[in-house]
Amino acid sequence: MQINSTRAHAQKSLLSCIIGIGLLIVIATFLGNDTAKIVTDFTYISVAGTLVVLSILLAARFKKTGSHGKAWLFFLGTAVSWFIAETTWSILEIVYHTNPFPSLADVFYLGGYPFLLCFVIYYIKPVKKAATKRMLIGAAIISISMMLPSIYMAYNFDPKVSLTENAIATSYPIADSIVFIPALIGVILFFRGEVNFTWSLVCIAVILQVLGDTTFQIATFTNTYYTGHPADILLLWSYLFFSFGVYDHIKIFKKVQNNKTKSTMA
Protein backbone atom coordinates (compact mmCIF):
# COMPACT_ATOMS: atom_id res chain seq x y z
CA MET A 1 0.00 0.00 0.00
CA GLN A 2 2.77 2.39 1.02
CA ILE A 3 4.78 1.55 -2.09
CA ASN A 4 1.68 2.15 -4.27
CA SER A 5 0.98 5.59 -2.77
CA THR A 6 4.67 6.57 -3.07
CA ARG A 7 4.63 5.39 -6.67
CA ALA A 8 1.46 7.37 -7.48
CA HIS A 9 3.12 10.45 -5.99
CA ALA A 10 6.29 9.79 -8.03
CA GLN A 11 4.22 9.40 -11.21
CA LYS A 12 2.51 12.76 -10.60
CA SER A 13 5.87 14.43 -9.91
CA LEU A 14 7.38 12.89 -13.04
CA LEU A 15 4.50 14.17 -15.17
CA SER A 16 4.85 17.66 -13.67
CA CYS A 17 8.60 17.65 -14.36
CA ILE A 18 8.07 16.48 -17.96
CA ILE A 19 5.54 19.26 -18.63
CA GLY A 20 7.62 21.83 -16.72
CA ILE A 21 10.88 21.13 -18.55
CA GLY A 22 9.13 20.98 -21.94
CA LEU A 23 7.46 24.36 -21.35
CA LEU A 24 10.66 25.90 -19.96
CA ILE A 25 12.70 25.02 -23.06
CA VAL A 26 9.91 26.08 -25.48
CA ILE A 27 9.46 29.45 -23.72
CA ALA A 28 13.24 30.02 -23.56
CA THR A 29 13.50 29.28 -27.30
CA PHE A 30 10.82 31.91 -28.01
CA LEU A 31 12.80 34.45 -25.99
CA GLY A 32 15.83 34.15 -28.26
CA ASN A 33 18.88 32.02 -28.97
CA ASP A 34 21.01 33.28 -26.08
CA THR A 35 18.25 32.71 -23.51
CA ALA A 36 17.60 29.24 -24.95
CA LYS A 37 21.29 28.37 -24.67
CA ILE A 38 21.59 29.49 -21.06
CA VAL A 39 18.29 27.95 -19.90
CA THR A 40 18.85 24.64 -21.73
CA ASP A 41 22.47 24.26 -20.58
CA PHE A 42 21.64 25.01 -16.96
CA THR A 43 18.66 22.65 -17.05
CA TYR A 44 20.95 19.90 -18.39
CA ILE A 45 23.46 20.48 -15.58
CA SER A 46 20.67 20.47 -12.96
CA VAL A 47 19.01 17.24 -14.12
CA ALA A 48 22.34 15.46 -14.70
CA GLY A 49 23.50 16.64 -11.26
CA THR A 50 20.29 15.32 -9.66
CA LEU A 51 20.91 11.96 -11.31
CA VAL A 52 24.46 11.89 -9.85
CA VAL A 53 23.17 12.66 -6.32
CA LEU A 54 20.45 9.98 -6.52
CA SER A 55 22.94 7.45 -7.92
CA ILE A 56 25.38 8.16 -5.07
CA LEU A 57 22.57 7.54 -2.53
CA LEU A 58 21.64 4.23 -4.15
CA ALA A 59 25.24 3.05 -4.63
CA ALA A 60 25.87 3.85 -0.95
CA ARG A 61 22.78 1.84 0.02
CA PHE A 62 23.98 -1.25 -1.88
CA LYS A 63 27.63 -0.81 -0.80
CA LYS A 64 29.12 -3.02 -3.55
CA THR A 65 27.21 -6.01 -2.14
CA GLY A 66 26.22 -8.62 -4.68
CA SER A 67 25.60 -8.19 -8.35
CA HIS A 68 23.29 -5.21 -7.86
CA GLY A 69 25.86 -3.39 -5.74
CA LYS A 70 28.25 -3.50 -8.69
CA ALA A 71 25.41 -2.60 -11.07
CA TRP A 72 24.61 0.63 -9.22
CA LEU A 73 28.31 1.56 -9.10
CA PHE A 74 28.38 1.27 -12.89
CA PHE A 75 25.25 3.40 -13.08
CA LEU A 76 26.97 6.00 -10.93
CA GLY A 77 29.82 5.92 -13.47
CA THR A 78 27.33 6.70 -16.25
CA ALA A 79 25.73 9.53 -14.28
CA VAL A 80 29.11 11.11 -13.43
CA SER A 81 30.38 10.77 -17.01
CA TRP A 82 27.25 12.42 -18.44
CA PHE A 83 27.33 15.16 -15.80
CA ILE A 84 30.92 16.01 -16.81
CA ALA A 85 29.82 15.94 -20.45
CA GLU A 86 26.92 18.35 -19.82
CA THR A 87 29.17 20.70 -17.83
CA THR A 88 31.88 20.63 -20.53
CA TRP A 89 29.27 21.31 -23.25
CA SER A 90 27.87 24.28 -21.30
CA ILE A 91 31.31 25.78 -20.57
CA LEU A 92 32.32 25.50 -24.23
CA GLU A 93 29.05 27.05 -25.38
CA ILE A 94 28.40 29.75 -22.78
CA VAL A 95 31.90 30.69 -21.60
CA TYR A 96 34.07 30.08 -24.69
CA HIS A 97 31.30 30.70 -27.29
CA THR A 98 32.51 27.78 -29.40
CA ASN A 99 30.51 25.06 -31.13
CA PRO A 100 30.49 22.19 -28.60
CA PHE A 101 29.91 19.51 -31.22
CA PRO A 102 32.16 17.64 -31.75
CA SER A 103 34.25 18.31 -28.64
CA LEU A 104 35.65 16.85 -25.43
CA ALA A 105 32.05 16.62 -24.18
CA ASP A 106 31.42 13.78 -26.65
CA VAL A 107 34.20 11.73 -25.04
CA PHE A 108 32.27 11.85 -21.76
CA TYR A 109 28.86 11.33 -23.39
CA LEU A 110 30.14 8.22 -25.19
CA GLY A 111 32.17 7.19 -22.12
CA GLY A 112 28.92 6.80 -20.18
CA TYR A 113 27.61 4.03 -22.45
CA PRO A 114 29.99 1.18 -21.46
CA PHE A 115 29.08 1.91 -17.82
CA LEU A 116 25.36 1.90 -18.67
CA LEU A 117 25.71 -1.40 -20.53
CA CYS A 118 27.58 -2.92 -17.56
CA PHE A 119 24.83 -1.61 -15.26
CA VAL A 120 22.01 -3.36 -17.12
CA ILE A 121 24.05 -6.55 -17.56
CA TYR A 122 25.01 -6.75 -13.87
CA TYR A 123 21.45 -5.95 -12.79
CA ILE A 124 19.90 -8.80 -14.75
CA LYS A 125 22.85 -11.16 -14.10
CA PRO A 126 21.30 -12.92 -11.04
CA VAL A 127 18.12 -13.68 -13.01
CA LYS A 128 19.66 -14.19 -16.45
CA LYS A 129 18.60 -17.85 -16.50
CA ALA A 130 14.99 -16.66 -16.81
CA ALA A 131 15.81 -14.93 -20.11
CA THR A 132 14.81 -16.99 -23.12
CA LYS A 133 16.17 -17.01 -26.66
CA ARG A 134 12.83 -15.65 -27.86
CA MET A 135 13.17 -12.65 -25.51
CA LEU A 136 16.70 -11.99 -26.76
CA ILE A 137 15.73 -12.25 -30.43
CA GLY A 138 12.64 -10.06 -29.92
CA ALA A 139 14.64 -7.36 -28.11
CA ALA A 140 17.41 -7.53 -30.73
CA ILE A 141 14.91 -7.11 -33.60
CA ILE A 142 13.36 -4.02 -31.94
CA SER A 143 16.85 -2.66 -31.20
CA ILE A 144 18.06 -3.14 -34.79
CA SER A 145 14.91 -1.51 -36.17
CA MET A 146 15.56 1.46 -33.87
CA MET A 147 19.13 1.94 -35.12
CA LEU A 148 18.37 1.40 -38.82
CA PRO A 149 17.27 5.02 -39.57
CA SER A 150 20.53 6.31 -38.05
CA ILE A 151 22.71 3.89 -40.00
CA TYR A 152 20.80 4.79 -43.20
CA MET A 153 21.38 8.50 -42.54
CA ALA A 154 25.07 7.91 -41.84
CA TYR A 155 25.52 6.52 -45.36
CA ASN A 156 23.55 9.34 -46.98
CA PHE A 157 24.93 12.30 -45.10
CA ASP A 158 25.49 15.83 -46.33
CA PRO A 159 29.09 16.16 -47.66
CA LYS A 160 29.39 19.43 -45.69
CA VAL A 161 29.25 17.39 -42.47
CA SER A 162 32.71 16.08 -41.54
CA LEU A 163 33.37 12.36 -41.17
CA THR A 164 34.09 12.84 -37.43
CA GLU A 165 30.77 14.62 -36.90
CA ASN A 166 28.99 11.90 -38.85
CA ALA A 167 30.66 9.10 -36.90
CA ILE A 168 29.99 10.67 -33.48
CA ALA A 169 26.37 11.68 -34.23
CA THR A 170 25.64 8.18 -35.55
CA SER A 171 27.32 6.38 -32.66
CA TYR A 172 24.86 7.80 -30.10
CA PRO A 173 21.64 6.15 -31.39
CA ILE A 174 23.62 2.94 -32.05
CA ALA A 175 24.93 2.86 -28.46
CA ASP A 176 21.40 3.59 -27.15
CA SER A 177 19.95 0.75 -29.20
CA ILE A 178 22.57 -1.70 -27.87
CA VAL A 179 21.73 -0.75 -24.26
CA PHE A 180 18.05 -1.11 -25.10
CA ILE A 181 18.39 -4.93 -25.59
CA PRO A 182 19.17 -5.85 -21.94
CA ALA A 183 16.96 -2.99 -20.70
CA LEU A 184 13.91 -4.45 -22.45
CA ILE A 185 14.78 -7.97 -21.26
CA GLY A 186 14.91 -6.53 -17.71
CA VAL A 187 11.37 -5.15 -18.05
CA ILE A 188 10.11 -8.61 -19.10
CA LEU A 189 12.08 -10.45 -16.38
CA PHE A 190 10.89 -8.23 -13.55
CA PHE A 191 7.33 -7.91 -14.81
CA ARG A 192 4.83 -8.04 -11.90
CA GLY A 193 7.66 -7.53 -9.40
CA GLU A 194 8.27 -4.42 -7.29
CA VAL A 195 11.39 -3.46 -9.24
CA ASN A 196 9.45 -3.46 -12.52
CA PHE A 197 8.55 0.23 -12.23
CA THR A 198 12.25 1.16 -12.05
CA TRP A 199 12.99 -0.96 -15.09
CA SER A 200 10.08 0.48 -17.06
CA LEU A 201 11.39 3.98 -16.36
CA VAL A 202 14.96 3.00 -17.35
CA CYS A 203 13.64 1.42 -20.55
CA ILE A 204 11.56 4.52 -21.43
CA ALA A 205 14.63 6.66 -20.69
CA VAL A 206 16.68 4.61 -23.19
CA ILE A 207 13.88 4.90 -25.82
CA LEU A 208 13.81 8.68 -25.30
CA GLN A 209 17.59 8.72 -25.75
CA VAL A 210 17.29 6.86 -29.04
CA LEU A 211 14.66 9.36 -30.22
CA GLY A 212 16.64 12.35 -28.92
CA ASP A 213 19.94 11.20 -30.39
CA THR A 214 18.35 10.33 -33.76
CA THR A 215 16.72 13.78 -33.85
CA PHE A 216 20.11 15.31 -32.96
CA GLN A 217 21.72 13.34 -35.78
CA ILE A 218 19.10 14.59 -38.29
CA ALA A 219 19.54 18.17 -37.06
CA THR A 220 23.34 17.89 -37.34
CA PHE A 221 23.16 16.49 -40.87
CA THR A 222 20.73 19.20 -42.00
CA ASN A 223 22.65 21.88 -40.10
CA THR A 224 19.52 22.89 -38.19
CA TYR A 225 20.62 22.08 -34.64
CA TYR A 226 20.52 24.81 -32.01
CA THR A 227 20.62 24.49 -28.22
CA GLY A 228 16.97 24.23 -27.14
CA HIS A 229 16.10 22.05 -30.18
CA PRO A 230 13.28 19.47 -29.62
CA ALA A 231 16.09 16.85 -29.43
CA ASP A 232 17.20 18.53 -26.19
CA ILE A 233 13.71 18.24 -24.71
CA LEU A 234 13.73 14.48 -25.44
CA LEU A 235 17.19 14.07 -23.91
CA LEU A 236 16.21 16.08 -20.81
CA TRP A 237 13.12 13.90 -20.43
CA SER A 238 15.41 10.88 -20.65
CA TYR A 239 17.41 12.18 -17.66
CA LEU A 240 14.13 12.66 -15.79
CA PHE A 241 13.06 9.07 -16.40
CA PHE A 242 16.47 7.77 -15.27
CA SER A 243 16.29 9.94 -12.14
CA PHE A 244 12.78 8.82 -11.22
CA GLY A 245 13.80 5.20 -11.85
CA VAL A 246 16.68 5.54 -9.41
CA TYR A 247 14.43 7.41 -6.95
CA ASP A 248 11.89 4.57 -7.08
CA HIS A 249 14.65 2.07 -6.32
CA ILE A 250 15.81 4.15 -3.35
CA LYS A 251 12.23 4.11 -2.04
CA ILE A 252 11.88 0.32 -2.49
CA PHE A 253 15.15 -0.45 -0.73
CA LYS A 254 15.19 2.33 1.84
CA LYS A 255 16.61 1.39 5.22
CA VAL A 256 13.90 0.57 7.72
CA GLN A 257 14.51 1.96 11.21
CA ASN A 258 14.52 -0.53 14.09
CA ASN A 259 14.85 -3.39 11.66
CA LYS A 260 14.94 -6.47 13.85
CA THR A 261 16.20 -8.84 11.18
CA LYS A 262 16.78 -12.18 12.84
CA SER A 263 19.55 -13.27 10.56
CA THR A 264 22.09 -16.03 10.69
CA MET A 265 24.54 -14.32 8.32
CA ALA A 266 24.12 -10.52 8.51
Binding site: G66, V127, K129, A130, G193, N259, T261, T264, M265
Partner: protein
Protein backbone atom coordinates in the same frame (compact mmCIF):
# COMPACT_ATOMS: atom_id res chain seq x y z
CA UNK B 1 18.34 -27.72 9.50
CA UNK B 2 16.37 -24.54 10.14
CA UNK B 3 19.64 -22.58 10.41
CA UNK B 4 21.00 -24.23 7.27
CA UNK B 5 17.88 -23.26 5.33
CA UNK B 6 18.19 -19.72 6.61
CA UNK B 7 21.85 -19.53 5.55
CA UNK B 8 20.96 -20.78 2.05
CA UNK B 9 18.17 -18.21 1.62
CA UNK B 10 20.37 -15.40 2.93
CA UNK B 11 23.31 -16.43 0.74
CA UNK B 12 21.12 -16.46 -2.38
CA UNK B 13 19.76 -12.98 -1.58
CA UNK B 14 23.14 -11.55 -0.57
CA UNK B 15 24.50 -12.61 -3.97
CA UNK B 16 22.00 -10.17 -5.47
CA UNK B 17 22.57 -7.42 -2.89
CA UNK B 18 22.24 -6.81 0.85
CA UNK B 19 19.20 -4.50 0.43
CA UNK B 20 17.35 -7.43 -1.19
CA UNK B 21 17.95 -9.53 1.93
CA UNK B 22 16.72 -6.63 4.09
CA UNK B 23 13.68 -6.20 1.87
CA UNK B 24 12.71 -9.89 2.07
CA UNK B 25 13.26 -9.90 5.86
CA UNK B 26 11.13 -6.77 6.30
CA UNK B 27 8.34 -8.09 4.14
CA UNK B 28 8.27 -11.41 5.99
CA UNK B 29 8.11 -9.53 9.25
CA UNK B 30 5.44 -7.07 8.16
CA UNK B 31 3.20 -9.47 6.27
CA UNK B 32 3.56 -12.69 8.25
CA UNK B 33 5.23 -11.57 11.48
CA UNK B 34 8.01 -14.10 10.93
CA UNK B 35 11.76 -14.20 10.20
CA UNK B 36 13.84 -15.93 7.52
CA UNK B 37 14.55 -19.04 9.68
CA UNK B 38 10.77 -19.48 10.06
CA UNK B 39 10.51 -20.10 6.30
CA UNK B 40 11.67 -23.65 7.06
CA UNK B 41 8.20 -24.29 8.54
CA UNK B 42 6.35 -21.85 6.24
CA UNK B 43 7.93 -21.95 2.77
CA UNK B 44 4.76 -20.44 1.28
CA UNK B 45 5.54 -17.14 3.05
CA UNK B 46 8.93 -16.96 1.36
CA UNK B 47 7.38 -17.91 -1.98
CA UNK B 48 4.83 -15.06 -1.77
CA UNK B 49 7.42 -12.47 -0.73
CA UNK B 50 9.90 -13.47 -3.46
CA UNK B 51 7.15 -13.31 -6.10
CA UNK B 52 6.10 -9.81 -4.99
CA UNK B 53 9.66 -8.51 -5.34
CA UNK B 54 11.08 -10.40 -8.32
CA UNK B 55 7.97 -10.92 -10.47
CA UNK B 56 8.62 -13.12 -13.51
CA UNK B 57 12.20 -13.88 -12.48
CA UNK B 58 11.34 -15.42 -9.09
CA UNK B 59 12.16 -18.85 -10.53
CA UNK B 60 15.87 -18.09 -10.90
CA UNK B 61 16.17 -16.83 -7.31
CA UNK B 62 14.37 -19.95 -6.11
CA UNK B 63 16.68 -22.05 -8.29
CA UNK B 64 19.77 -20.66 -6.55
CA UNK B 65 18.23 -21.46 -3.11
CA UNK B 66 17.46 -24.99 -4.35
CA UNK B 67 21.03 -25.45 -5.58
CA UNK B 68 22.41 -24.46 -2.18
CA UNK B 69 20.11 -26.92 -0.42
CA UNK B 70 20.47 -29.75 -2.96
CA UNK B 71 22.73 -31.83 -0.69
CA UNK B 72 20.23 -31.81 2.18
CA UNK B 73 17.12 -32.99 0.41
CA UNK B 74 16.86 -36.06 2.63
CA UNK B 75 15.58 -33.77 5.38
CA UNK B 76 11.76 -33.63 5.21
CA UNK B 77 11.55 -29.90 6.01
CA UNK B 78 14.08 -28.91 3.34
CA UNK B 79 12.46 -31.29 0.85
CA UNK B 80 9.08 -29.62 1.45
CA UNK B 81 10.58 -26.13 1.20
CA UNK B 82 12.33 -26.92 -2.08
CA UNK B 83 9.07 -28.34 -3.44
CA UNK B 84 6.87 -25.48 -2.30
CA UNK B 85 8.88 -22.40 -3.28
CA UNK B 86 8.54 -21.40 -6.91
CA UNK B 87 6.15 -24.29 -7.64
Amino acid sequence: MKALTSVAIEKALLDIGKPFLDKVSNKLQKKYNCYIPDCYEHPEYLDNVLRSIFGNSTGTVVESIRELLAEYLDDDGIHLLVQKIGA
